[in-house]
């Protein structure tokens, strides 16, 4: 009994030392869809969650914020599939505890991040820290996009990238703060130019590199969402800006 207790303590402290956040220094994001005269985007420094938010994390949030319970959530903030995989308001079975949270809307994701003093990543930040344009990640990305079905795995089993962030690819789709502007709006009141990017390959005229069809799929997925949408493979992680007067970060 004593032996196991000590072992547990040692293990716990070991885990507490591994950071759950990753520092991202200042960088430049080259936009995938570039408008005429649109320049590259500066970003950072910021601190990004190492792992996506899990069911366990979200349960703790719901307990403290009962308006986000499945039975309580306002229809405006999430559609009726919200948390469909939880048996009831506060029940998260052991087998899904460490899986990334899914079936949460953009409103819910934002509320969670805000409760931690954080926010969702912007598209430019997400694409940058995901290292998506690195050809070495292409197979990982495409294999997941090509695989149908909704089987998830624990966040600890996902792949860590060069920035030290885990599960950016091959695990889930992730909410970004500005998902609606991923590709231009298809609102027909605007000039017809705007909707062409979305459909029938004309998007490829604006994209940096049409062979990056994996990125196309990600942008297409984002622009299919509404703020109250949920998805069986759609989750999120949080980030916060690091405001510093040190020029070196």
């Amino acid at each position: 009994m004593f032996f196991w207790g000590t072992l547990l303590l040692i293990l716990n402290s070991a885990l507490a030392q591994s950071p759950s956040e990753v520092l991202i220094k200042k960088g430049t994001y080259v936009p995938f869809f570039r408008d005429l005269n649109e320049s590259d985007q500066e970003l950072g420094p910021l601190v990004v969650d190492k792992y996506p938010v899990t069911n366990k994390d979200f349960l703790a949030f719901v307990k403290k914020n009962p308006s986000w319970k499945k039975s309580q959530v306002k229809a405006l903030f999430a559609n009726n599939r919200y948390l469909e995989h939880w048996k009831d308001d506060l029940s998260v079975s052991a087998d899904i505890r460490d899986l990334p949270i899914t079936n949460v809307s953009w409103f819910a994701a934002r509320a969670y991040c805000r409760s931690k003093g954080k926010r969702l990543l912007k598209t430019s930040e997400w694409e940058y820290v995901s290292d998506a344009q690195n050809k070495q990640n292409l197979d990982l990305i495409l294999n997941w996009y090509g695989k149908t079905g909704t089987k998830l795995k624990p966040v600890s089993e996902a792949v860590e990238n060069i920035y030290g962030i885990v599960g950016m690819h091959g695990l889930i789709w992730e909410w970004v703060d500005d998902f609606g502007s991923a590709i231009l709006s298809n609102d027909s009141r605007k000039s017809n130019e705007s909707s062409k990017s979305l459909y029938c390959g004309s998007g490829s005229l604006k994209a940096k590199d049409p062979s990056q069809y994996a990125t196309f799929m990600r942008f297409a997925h984002r622009s299919s969402l509404r703020a109250d949408s949920v998805g069986r493979t759609l989750g999120f992680r949080c980030a916060k800006d690091l405001i510093t007067d040190k020029g070196d970060l």
Binding site: L142, G146, N186, S188, F216, A220, H221, R226, S229, R232
Partner: protein, 472 residues
């Protein structure tokens, strides 16, 4: 005066109908409601028998793992769980309420571009749907014809390449001419990381798709989908129509049915018959054609893309079985199978060639043996293996009075040939025996064999004797 004019103009607006391109745009609220019957290939919904209506069409997009070929699986993105998607049959003037639902297990958003739709993206703009959502839009069928529909979500080529296409038929006002049977066939390609036939779950290969170099070219979504046990069937004498689509994404099809000719072709799936008596018709990528023909004769008709390596090496092969007794008035099948002696059986040598070392029989028994071989090689084709000949065509040699009567005459005939009437064993023959160009040795051997076989009793014929007759 102005008031009257204004009222006149208002009348069509008030009554809710005005014409565009010949199709009346009835107020949708006034149209009779009906739900479209959808079928899976190769079945086609029954011909319509109704006026313009308000039609409900519901399609679901699903990502499924299914067989592409024996031992080969593929993750298909589909309409309705199959490749091609369901066949939609409506008529010109219909007002369609179209709902596209994307299964929540889908990874990808999907939408639909129907080539029959006159509107932004062919409906793609109005149907962009995230997994677990539905989208509804409505359109009016203005033009009759056979149209492809396909997913148009970026990257469009990949969504199409994974199987998201089907056909929608907009019947003309008077309907299509009556036929006995209709079939639904869509050609398309698949691009896999592995080569054709490589086993396992094969991922999509974007580079091959860009290079337009497919591993599979198939009818109805997999190798053998309409062949062998899955063949289409028709009865003799039936008029058959095939609605042919080409989902692409890249290749143009040279559509041909082996053993038949298309009586009529609605080229490119348009509204009129563009040609008759067509062997092979082009089906554009993202396009269609309508062909019909009467199956006059039982056989197994083979559907192919006549860019023929696609048919035999990549899977573009289908079957339409027409059982029954073959009509010999139209086609007999093989009636004669005979040996063809291109040069009359003689061994011809080129002037420069060194002649093979000459064989010379040393005695009577050798000559007999060699003669048997020479006879079989040069004479048996006509005079038959046992010298019996063919009645009234080739005279017999067995017990032949004509043969044995005059040795020199016999040698002459083999050297020079013979034409004109002769009588052999009481039978008249008036044929031509060609000069076979045989050597002295061969003639001597053959004649020795002939004059001493099958009841003939004669003597040896020597090469010297043959040589002596040449010149005469």
């Amino acid at each position: 005066m102005r008031l009257h004019l204004a009222t006149l103009l208002l009348i069509p607006v008030l009554f809710g109908c005005w014409k565009k391109n010949g199709a009346k745009l009835e107020d949708p609220e006034k149209l009779a409601k009906v739900t479209a019957q959808l079928t899976y290939a190769p079945e086609v919904p029954a011909p319509l028998n109704r006026g313009p209506s308000r039609v409900t069409v519901n399609l679901e997009t699903k990502e499924v793992i299914k067989r592409l070929a024996d031992g080969v699986d593929y993750t298909f993105w589909t309409f309705g769980g199959s490749v091609p998607g369901p066949f939609i049959r409506i008529r010109v003037g219909d007002y369609v309420d179209f709902t596209l639902s994307n299964h929540p297990n889908s990874k990808m958003p999907h939408n639909i571009d129907l080539h029959a739709v006159t509107g932004q993206g062919g409906g793609a703009e109005g149907s962009f749907t995230a997994p677990g959502h539905s989208s509804t839009f409505s359109f009016r069928a203005l033009n009759s014809g056979l149209y492809i529909y396909h997913c148009a979500t970026a990257p469009v080529g990949m969504h199409i390449a994974n199987g998201m296409y089907g056909l929608i038929l907009v019947e003309p006002e008077e309907g299509l001419p009556k036929v006995d049977r209709e079939f639904y066939v869509v050609q398309s390609e698949f691009y896999t990381k592995g080569k054709y036939g490589e086993r396992g779950l094969q991922p999509f290969d974007m580079e091959k798709a860009i290079a337009e170099n497919p591993d599979y070219v198939v009818f109805n979504g997999s190798v053998g989908a309409v062949a062998n046990g899955n063949s289409m069937e028709a009865k003799v004498g039936e008029k058959v129509r095939i609605f042919v689509g080409n989902g692409g994404p890249n290749l143009v099809s040279s559509f041909h049915v082996i053993g038949e000719i298309f009586d009529h072709v609605y080229g490119e799936g348009g509204a009129v018959v563009s040609q008759k008596n067509v062997q092979t018709t082009l089906v554009p990528a993202g396009g269609s054609a309508i062909v019909d023909f009467v199956v006059d004769n039982p056989s197994t008709l083979i559907l192919v893309d006549h860019s023929i390596f696609r048919a035999f090496n990549k899977g573009a092969l289908g079957m339409l079985k027409v059982p029954g007794e073959v009509n010999k008035m139209i086609y007999t099948g093989k009636t004669v199978d005979s040996v063809y002696l291109a040069e009359g059986g003689a061994i011809q040598t080129m002037p420069d060639e060194k002649a093979a070392p000459a064989f010379a029989a040393k005695d009577f028994s050798e000559r007999l043996k060699a003669g048997e071989a020479a006879y079989k090689a040069n004479c048996a084709a006509c005079h038959q293996p046992n010298g019996e000949g063919i009645a009234s065509v080739f005279p017999p040699l067995a017990k032949s009075d004509f043969l044995m009567a005059n040795k020199n005459r016999t040698i002459d005939i083999v050297i020079k040939g013979l034409e004109g009437e002769i009588t052999v064993n009481g039978q008249k023959y008036n044929s031509v025996m060609p000069s076979l160009g045989l050597s002295d040795e061969t003639i001597a051997n053959a004649l020795t064999y002939v004059r001493n076989s099958w009841g003939n009793k004669g003597d040896e014929v020597t090469p010297e004797q043959v040589k002596a007759r040449r010149g005469k």
